[in-house]
């Protein structure tokens, strides 16, 4: 879950990370004027959106007076960037910068340790620096079992900085590493970390990602930062259909059914499990199918939960048929899914044999499941029909309808 820049900065500031003077969120032009007046000098105003490409889109403006700041804020607050409306505008003091660094703590999935990354070519895309100028990147892993002590940061910083900058940057690295560990973050990034003309360092921009798994552990922090429980902070905001799906999943703890992503097509998908859904979604698209949604069912969901998911998908405008497909299942019971889907179709006022394009879930309790499907005249297949082939049949049927 991505934090807005102003939230990231609030979190860093609580742990002693220096920010540009006066850094504060404005929700209106009047508020921006007040903040700029308090700074009493040149300011920078930054759109608070989760999308990248802010600068290019005109979401970052400069001002030399409180009035200019108000005008800039008004522009930014009206500007949508890649479909994202700004949460507000961050107003900060603008000071001359003499050197920019990149600093981040993130996970290295291969080393299985957190890794600190520092570059003396800050402000630009770090992947590009790593590719073209590897000598300008320093990396160090650190232990998750030992307490973090400063020498690890020193080893990192000494590769790229010298003189009094070394100890100044070490303080930022150590703070960032400790924040990363304390809050279960997946990314803590300061880019750029700027050295100002007076020799001091500040975090000009910051980006923090927290994994969904630790949200409940840090409920207090999230409340203080005013991050709502329903904010998923994915690449795009959730749709109503997706929120309804999440509610179906949350209403019943047995298994998973309702983890949906909305697409525009006419073929509703009740697919699973994690890897099976990815495989089947690819297969539907390869056959030229037009999916109405992505979803994942698994972990033996209850009949009611599957029925509610079925109803949700059938109620989606434009959905003509649904395909019910999974890999060979071990824990999920075929008969339970069959009962759930049939119940959902019937309660939506449709004929199972007509609405269900295909049912391809082989595995545990398949005999019981197939018997039930046969009774309702639903086309089903066992493991002798591949996932790819089943998806093809579903797409063909949906196109005929």
């Amino acid at each position: 879950m991505r934090f807005y820049e102003y939230e990231s900065k609030q979190l860093l500031a609580r742990h002693g990370v220096a920010l540009p003077k006066g850094s504060k969120l404005a929700k209106s032009a009047a508020e921006a004027r007040q903040i700029a007046a308090a700074i009493a000098g040149p300011t920078v105003l930054k759109s608070q959106v989760l999308s990248g490409g802010r600068m290019k889109a005109g979401g970052v403006l400069f001002a030399d007076s409180p009035d200019e700041a108000a005008t800039a804020a008004e522009k930014i607050l009206r500007l949508e960037i890649n479909g994202h409306k700004p949460r507000g505008v961050l107003v900060e003091s603008r000071q001359p910068v003499v050197q920019e660094y990149y600093l981040a703590v993130t996970w290295d999935g291969i080393a299985k340790r957190p890794v600190m990354i520092l570059s003396d070519m800050g402000g630009i895309d770090v992947e590009e620096v790593a590719e073209k100028h590897p000598e300008h990147i320093a990396k160090r892993h650190f232990s998750t079992l030992l307490p973090f002590t400063e020498y690890r940061a020193k080893q990192l910083v000494a590769q790229l900085a010298s003189g009094s900058d070394v100890s100044a940057i070490i303080r930022f690295v150590a703070s960032l590493a400790r924040i990363f560990m304390q809050y279960g973050l997946t990314l803590a990034e300061i880019n750029p970390l700027a050295k100002l003309s007076d020799g001091s360092f500040v975090a000009l921009d910051a980006h923090v990602d927290m994994e969904a798994e630790v949200r409940s552990q840090h409920a207090g922090l999230l409340r203080e930062l005013e991050i709502g429980d329903d904010e998923t902070r994915m690449a795009r905001p959730p749709t109503k259909f997706e929120l309804d799906g999440a509610a179906i999943n949350a209403a019943d703890h047995r298994g998973v059914a309702g983890n949906v992503t909305e697409f525009a097509g006419s073929l509703g998908l009740i697919i699973g499990a994690g890897g099976g859904s990815l495989t089947l979604f690819d297969a539907v698209r390869n056959h030229g199918g037009d999916p109405a949604n992505y979803c994942e069912i698994g972990g033996n969901p209850s009949v009611g939960k599957v029925a509610n998911l079925t109803k949700l998908i059938l109620a989606k405008p434009g959905v003509k048929k649904i395909a019910v497909m999974m890999n060979v299942v071990s824990n999920t019971r075929v008969d339970m899914v069959a009962r759930g889907v049939i119940k959902g179709v019937v309660e939506s006022g449709f004929e199972p044999a007509d609405k269900i394009a295909i049912f391809r879930i082989p595995g545990s309790w398949e005999q019981e499941g197939f018997k039930l499907l046969g009774k309702y005249g639903v086309e089903f297949c066992d493991r002798s029909v591949s996932m790819y082939e089943a998806a093809g049949r579903a797409v063909a049927k949906a196109k005929r309808s």
Partner: protein
């Protein structure tokens, strides 16, 4: 032969009295796995399908040899359970629990490295050596597991539990049995990656080829490609890559916790390119895997 587990492997289940663990115990016993005990605090003296329950792992290892432990406890207790097993001297941990915070997974993995223990998972279904034993829910009931998994010479590794069974079933139907199938887990950090299990398959004389299931996110496939090249592996590898549609949807999490495209290296296109360069054949469809394996084996 097989890797990780054989019919002689002795195993305990931590969290044995949980709903899922009770049925897993039944499945494993029916498949022939030696389950020598279970652990749930406060339940010492009871039994689950005849398997004695203890309060601590220590109580079991004092009585009998324990080669492996399946950890099936809620995410908030998983790190503690793993630490307990590792410190009691258990050398193979299969962690099926989902949604464990990444930092805690890294701590378990780091302690395991220090103590010379191996972790499979988390967020996995387990390990199955056909005809020998299965630990974890992989394959489901013994009767179903025997349908999908057959004894043979292909080693299988998969980031998806369900797709482990699907691939083995497809191989079996084509007359290609498996030496061992490993559901390695769907998290961004896991105890044993493809590349880390390769030396075990490489050393197993019965294994002749490898089939893997892979997804977007992370660098495990690139790491495997590097391993295969660096070690001039004798084993031909066939991969299946799911989630190709995700390349066009960066920042969206689908499937498992580790399945998200955040950078160029996470995309399926990049992974396929790296694997192809290392001589790993990438199948378009699951049903293409057996033919590719046979082709690689010159049959």
């Amino acid at each position: 032969m097989s890797i990780l587990i054989t019919g002689d492997t002795t195993c305990i289940i931590q969290g044995i009295t949980g709903r899922e663990a009770v049925s897993m115990t039944r499945e494993c016993l029916d498949y022939g796995t030696k389950i020598v005990g279970g652990v749930t605090p406060g339940r010492r003296g009871r039994d689950v399908h005849g398997v004695p329950v203890y309060d601590t792992v220590e109580q079991v290892v004092q009585k009998t040899r324990v080669d492996a432990s399946v950890i099936s406890v809620p995410p908030a207790f998983a790190r503690d359970a793993a630490f307990e097993a590792i410190e009691a001297g258990v050398k193979l941990l299969v962690i099926v629990t989902e949604n464990i915070p990444r930092f805690e997974v890294a701590q378990m993995v780091e302690l395991a490295e220090l103590r010379g223990a191996r972790i499979i998972g988390p967020n996995c279904l387990g390990v199955l050596s056909p005809g020998e034993a299965k630990i974890g829910g992989l394959g489901g009931r013994a009767v179903d597991a025997r349908k999908a998994f057959t004894k043979g010479r292909v080693g299988v590794m998969s980031r998806s539990g369900g797709m482990t069974t699907e691939i083995c079933n497809t191989l079996s139907a084509a007359g290609l049995g498996q030496s061992t199938a490993v559901s390695i887990g769907g998290d961004a950090i896991i105890g044993s990656s493809y590349a880390e299990l390769m030396p075990l398959f490489e050393a197993d004389p019965e294994t002749e080829a490898i089939a893997i299931y892979s997804e977007p996110g992370g660098r495990m496939e690139a790491d495997l490609a590097r391993w295969v090249t660096d070690h001039k592996s004798r084993l031909p590898v066939v991969a299946f890559m799911a989630g190709r549609f995700m390349d066009a949807m960066p920042g969206m999490r689908f499937g498992h916790a580790g399945t998200i495209v955040e950078g160029k290296a996470d995309t399926t296109a990049e992974k396929i390119e790296r694997m192809n360069a290392a001589g790993i054949a990438v199948a378009e469809r699951i049903e293409d895997i057996p033919a590719l394996v046979k082709q690689k084996l010159g049959r």
